[in-house]
């Protein structure tokens, strides 16, 4: 175990030295990728990017603010259903538009508002109680999605969601092909990453870290920590909603599973395996966990068991995740 950690630490150091070249290589690879990859691999990459946004949004809560949300699927699924209800051509839905200029603000505002409403209750608590309450609220939304079938389509969900368009009047572009949708998701991923990076490195972000380390002290310094936590919860919810929206535009279908605890659990696993408290961690975690079944299922039927064991191994032996292993002994920020 230590030998592996040392090796990974060396890899981490090397990555850190070659940072600019690796970035350049990454961009070229990301641009060329859809033209050389098989459709299946392209779809997987789209999913990984979407879940990376989702995991980063959870990291803002768990990693930076120290709020262990176990109901983050609430916002992911809400984003999915809101865009589904606006854009779907199904008779249940409105079928208005799938123009991103309209849907992105509505989805992000709606999820942020619901996050504020849930946060108003949940943020009165912290730690384990917070975890349970967020789980309970997410299940509440799930139960609404299942039971209120005249609006949500019940257990079938909402289908007939078209791919998004962007622009005004004749100057609009439909992201109909898989390749174009890949570039759209990539753009959203990079924008989210950049924005969240700005947020966590701003004075606001450092205040959140302060709340994580010692909320009492910040309160004594005069910070209204409840408001900061509410803001973090709303921002996190909005990005989770964006991720949910991007996923259903891709699969053209919003299902109750988007709201279910398994989705909350999956994103939590991604975050823990990748490493909390960094934005690189959730991205790596999303890739590893999403690709894990593929690597394993050819050899072994019970990939869920293996995934659970992998998760347990990380919790026990590498609580700082892949990023922690890559960092090795070093303390400073890696990527």
């Amino acid at each position: 175990m230590t030998a592996v950690a040392t090796q990974l630490g060396r890899v981490g150091t090397w990555v850190n030295r070659q940072r600019q070249w690796l970035w350049a290589a990454f961009f070229i690879a990301a641009l060329v990728f859809p033209f050389v990859a098989r459709p299946y691999h392209l779809s997987l990459t789209i999913e990984v990017l979407v879940f990376a946004i989702f995991a980063m949004s959870l990291d803002l809560l768990l990693g930076y603010t120290g709020l262990p949300s176990f109901g983050h699927a609430a916002f992911f699924g809400l984003g999915a259903y809101v865009v589904g209800y606006i854009a779907s051509t199904s008779p249940l839905a409105l079928g208005l538009t799938s123009n991103l200029l309209v849907t992105v603000p509505i989805v992000m505002a709606a999820t942020a508002l619901v996050a504020l409403a849930i946060g108003f209750f949940a943020l009165r608590t912290s730690g384990i109680t917070f975890l349970m309450i967020t789980l309970a609220f997410a299940q509440m939304l799930f139960s609404i999605a299942i039971r209120w079938s005249s609006v949500t389509g019940g257990s079938d969900g909402l289908s007939g969601i078209p791919r998004p368009t962007l622009g005004i009047g004749p100057l609009s572009y439909a992201f109909a092909s898989r390749e174009s949708y890949y570039f759209l998701v990539l753009a959203f991923f990079l924008a989210s990453w950049w924005l969240l990076r700005r947020i966590v490195n701003s004075p606001f972000g450092w205040t959140l870290r302060g709340i994580r380390e010692n909320e009492q002290r910040l309160r004594a310094l005069g910070y209204n920590t409840f408001r900061y936590k509410m803001a973090a919860f709303a921002i996190s919810g909005a990005f989770a909603g964006l991720a949910g929206m991007l996923l259903v535009h891709f699969f053209r279908h919003a299902s109750p599973e988007n709201l279910y605890w398994t989705t909350s659990g999956q994103v939590l696993i991604m975050l823990i395996v990748g490493g909390t408290g960094t934005l690189t961690g959730p991205i790596l975690g999303a890739a590893v966990i999403r690709l894990f079944p593929l690597l394993v299922s050819t050899y072994f039927d019970r990939w869920r068991t293996l995934q659970g064991l992998l998760f347990i191994a990380f919790v026990l032996f590498a609580p700082k995740g892949i990023v922690g292993l890559l960092r090795g002994e070093r303390d400073e920020e890696l990527l």
Partner: protein
């Protein structure tokens, strides 16, 4: 009126079932500050082990003994070899995550072994059939479950409040270090409490199986309800588990009967109101069983 009476009794049944679950969850939480997310998996595992015991041994009563013993032993091993690694410092969240990982593994392995079908379990012959009650007919098994739940609540209270072991457990909740300083093997107490907590979940699984049936996914359904119970009642208290379970059992049953579309919503509304008025739950500030 008749319908109301039936719902009232069904609410009691649900409440008692939830109480047995919540007592185990709350016992473990009180002792170790860990919310055991694999508690629902232990319910389902208990139910399935009970089902196999009924099939192999042909007796529901034996299943009632075998399943808690088997699952309790599993709980003991989990505490001793996994959870114990994470004691000390502020590692509660990691312990919770560990129990979540265990829940994932358990639910997959359960499905592997027992399949993905809905398995119904017949109540024991002695308790099958209906009994006239006022103007209605009510299943004997459900009445017996209410009596059993009340008896178990009394027994647990007597155990925790009146025995030496109960005193050690209660003292461990308040200050584990001090208890250890008095020469008591706290590790054994922790393992014992975790084993008893999981055994209670398994017991609930066996006696709940004739009512809820057994199917994949039930583990998390029941876990969520149990979590709502302990949040509403207050974590770490037997009293909270009892009244919380009754309240949520009633809310769930009446909600399902009268507003089926929003029954789950009703439960969470109750939870939200309690949290707003008393963030630590109805009996959260009081100590064990007082």
């Amino acid at each position: 009126m008749e319908n109301f009476l039936i719902q009232l009794l069904n609410g009691l049944v649900a409440g008692m079932l939830l109480f047995i679950m919540a007592a185990g969850l709350s016992l473990i939480f009180g002792q170790m500050n860990v919310i055991n997310l694999s508690h629902g998996a232990f319910y389902l595992l208990g139910g399935y082990v009970g089902l196999s015991a009924v099939r192999q041994l042909g007796s529901f009563w034996l299943a009632l003994i075998v399943a808690p013993l088997v699952v309790g032993a599993i709980g003991f091993v989990i505490e001793k070899f996994l959870l114990r690694r994470l004691y000390g410092g502020q590692r509660h969240l990691e312990q919770v995550l560990l129990t979540f990982g265990l829940a994932l593994v358990a639910s997959d392995l359960i499905q592997w072994n027992w399949g993905a079908f809905v398995e119904s379990v017949a109540p024991p012959a002695l308790l099958s059939g209906q009994v006239p009650l006022y103007t209605i007919q009510f299943p004997i098994y459900r009445l017996a479950l209410i009596v059993f739940g009340l008896a178990l609540a009394l027994l647990l209270w007597l155990f925790l409040d009146r025995t030496r072991i109960g005193a050690i457990v209660r003292a461990g909740v308040t200050n584990a270090e001090m208890v250890s300083g008095l020469g008591i093997n706290v590790h054994l107490v922790f393992a014992g409490v975790f084993a008893v907590g999981t055994a209670l979940a398994a017991l609930a699984g066996v006696i709940g199986a004739p009512i809820t049936a057994l199917y994949p996914g039930l583990d998390f359904e029941i876990l969520i309800l149990t979590i709502v119970v302990v949040v509403v009642g207050g974590l770490g208290t037997l009293k909270g588990a009892f009244w919380g379970a009754l309240l949520i059992g009633m809310a769930d049953t009446f909600g399902k009967a009268y507003i089926p579309q929003f029954s789950l919503f009703l439960i969470f509304a109750v939870m939200a109101v309690v949290l707003l008025l008393r963030p630590s739950g109805l009996f959260g500030l009081e100590a064990w069983s007082r």
